[in-house]
Amino acid sequence: MKSACANNLIMEPISIKVDHLEKHFEKVQALGDLSFEVSKGELFGVIGPDGAGKTTLFRILTSLLLASSGTATVEGLDVVKDYRKLRQILGYMPGRFSLYQDLTVEENLQFFATIFDTTITENYALIKDIYSQIEPFKTRRAGQLSGGMKQKLALSCAMIHKPVVLFLDEPTTGVDAVSRREFWDMLIHLKKSGMTIMVSTPYMDEAELCDRVALMQDGAIMQLDTPANIKASFNTPVIAVKSDSMYVLMNDLQSYPDIDTLFPFGEFLHYTAKSGAPDIEHMKTYLNNKGHANPVLMQVSPSIEDCFMRLMKHKEVRP
C-alpha cells in the first residue's frame, strides 16, 4: 500500500538503481540480493545497526568495492564500467573521519577542490551555509576539531566539486544529540537544492527525517518505504506503560498472560499483545494487584524503532 506521496516519488526520474546486488567476503554474505531505486532529489535513508551491510553497500555504489553479482547505476552510470565518470559526479563522506588530520581546515578543503579541478571560490555558494560555521577556525588543523566541526568540514569537502549525488555513510555516529540535530538541519536544507542524498545511520529516530528509508539488518532490506507507510504497516496496537518502579514493572509484565513483546522506550515500556487486542483495563487491574499504585497505560503510535524491532524479531542470529 503506497501513499500518494510515495507514488509521486517513484514517478520521478531515477538517480540510483540497484539490481540484484550481492556481496560475499569469502564465506560471509555481507549483502544478499538487494534491489531498489532512489529518485532524483530524494533524501534516502539506510537505517540499520553495525554489521547490517550499510558501508558495503555505500562502497559498491561509490565504485570503491566490486559486487559479487548484480548491477548498480548512479545517474545512469554503471558503478563498474563508468567508474571514472561516476567519481566526478558523486560526493562521498565515509563513516570514519577521512580528512587529513595534519592539514588545516582550509588546506583540506583546498586539497579536495584541487583534486576535482575546481576552486573553493568557484563553488563557495554551495558550501557557504555549512563552511561559514567553521571558517573562523580555518587555520586550525583538522585533527584539533571537535566532533561536530569535523563533520561540517567533511561534508564541505564532499561537496566542494558540486556533486549530483551525495553519499553520507554514518555521518552522525558518535555525535551528540545537539550536533546530530544540526547536521540533519543541514541535510534538509541541502535537499532543497535538488541534490540526491543517500545517508546511512544506526539512529532510528533519524529515519523520520528521510523521504524514504530502507531498514537493513544482516545484509538484507527488511522493509523499504516512506517513514509514514512503515509505521502504518505496524499492524498491532502499542501500549505505553509506566509505573514507579520500572524494574519491577518489567518483570511483572513479562508474566502477564497476553504478552507478545515488551521493550523499554525511554520512560515507558512498549507492550504488544499476543492476541493483538490489548485490554488496558484488565492490565491495570493486573498491575494494581501486583502492587503498582498508579500505573500509567495508554495506546501510542509506533515509532520506526518499534517497527525495526518487530521486523528483527524473527531474525535472531546466533554466533
Binding site: G48, D50, G147, G148, A177, R181, M186, H189, P202, Y247
Partner: protein, 249 residues
C-alpha cells in the same frame, strides 16, 4: 540503592594551560545507582572520567572512588572499578573464554573462580556455543554484552561505561540495559555516558555537562519538569544548544 556514596566529587577542576576542561564539578553517586553522565562532544566528559578512573590527576578539588583518593590511591581505584568503552573493550584476536581468563587473571581471580565465572557468564548470555569463537567474529551487540560482564568480572563497587551501546541494534541495546539494571539491582554503581537520549531516561539520575561545567543534575523526571520538556532529548537540546554556534535553518 542505599545512601552510601561510592563516588564523591568536590570542586573538581582540570586545566590544560589556559583551557578549563572541568570547572568546579560537585556531585555524589550512591551505591547501586545508575548515573547518566551526559554532555555534547567536547564538553569535558572524557576528562572527568579519566580522573575518576585514576588515570589523570585533577588540577584542584577532591574526588574519591569507593573511598580511594584520585591523587594518592590510583592503584586501589583501578582494582575497585570496571571499565568498558565502545571503542575498546575486548581483545579481538582472543576467543571469548580467553578474554574472560585474561581479565579474570588481571583482577586476581583464582583459576577456579575464573572457570566458574566463565561458565556462569556464558550461561547467562546464552553464549556457550561461542566459547571458543574469536571476538572479531562476534556480532557487535554480543561483544558489548560480553564486554560488560567481563568489566564486572571482579565484582567492583563501580563500573564506568563510555558509550557502551553506540551502533548496537535496538533489540540488543535493550538487552544490554537489562544487564545494567540487573548489576545495579545487585549493588554495583553504574556510571554511564550515551548519545541515545532514551537511555538517559533509564538512569536514576543524570548530569548534563556544558563547556566543562555541570549545568543540571537530577532524576530524569525532575529535569523534565524543571525544563518543562516532554523527554530527555528536549532537556538536552535546551541545555547543550544554548551555548553552541547558531545553526542554519
Amino acid at each position: 540503592m542505599t545512601e552510601e556514596s561510592i563516588i564523591k566529587v568536590e570542586h573538581l577542576y582540570k586545566k590544560f594551560g589556559d583551557f578549563t576542561a572541568n570547572e568546579d564539578l560537585c556531585f555524589e553517586v550512591k551505591k547501586g545507582e545508575i548515573f547518566g553522565f551526559l554532555g555534547a562532544n567536547g564538553a569535558g566528559k572524557t576528562t572527568a572520567m579519566k580522573i575518576l578512573c585514576g588515570l589523570w590527576k585533577p588540577t584542584s578539588g577532591s574526588a574519591t572512588i569507593a573511598g580511594f583518593d584520585v591523587y594518592t590511591q590510583t592503584n586501589e581505584i583501578k582494582k575497585n572499578i570496571g571499565y568498558m568503552s565502545q571503542r575498546f573493550s575486548l581483545y579481538e584476536d582472543l576467543t571469548v573464554s580467553e578474554n574472560i581468563r585474561l581479565y579474570g587473571g588481571i583482577y586476581g581471580l583464582t583459576i577456579r573462580e575464573i572457570r566458574q565465572k566463565t561458565d556462569e557468564l556464558l550461561t547467562k548470555l546464552d553464549m556457550q556455543q561461542a566459547r571458543n569463537t574469536l571476538i572479531q567474529s562476534l556480532p557487535l551487540g554480543w561483544r558489548q554484552k560480553l564486554a560488560f560482564c567481563v568489566a564486572i568480572v571482579h565484582n567492583p563497587p563501580v563500573v564506568f561505561l563510555d558509550e557502551p551501546t553506540g551502533g548496537v541494534d535496538p533489540v540488543t541495546r535493550r538487552q544490554f540495559w537489562n544487564l545494567i539494571y540487573e548489576a545495579a539491582h545487585l549493588g554495583t554503581t553504574i556510571f554511564v555516558t550515551t548519545h541515545y537520549m532514551d537511555e538517559a531516561e533509564y538512569c536514576d539520575r543524570v548530569s548534563i555537562m556544558v563547556e566543562g561545567r555541570i549545568e543540571a543534575l537530577d532524576s530524569p523526571a525532575a529535569l523534565k519538569s524543571q525544563f518543562q520538556a516532554k523527554n530527555m532529548n528536549d532537556v538536552f537540546l535546551l541545555l547543550a544548544r544554548k551555548k553552541t554556534a547558531p545553526t542554519i535553518s
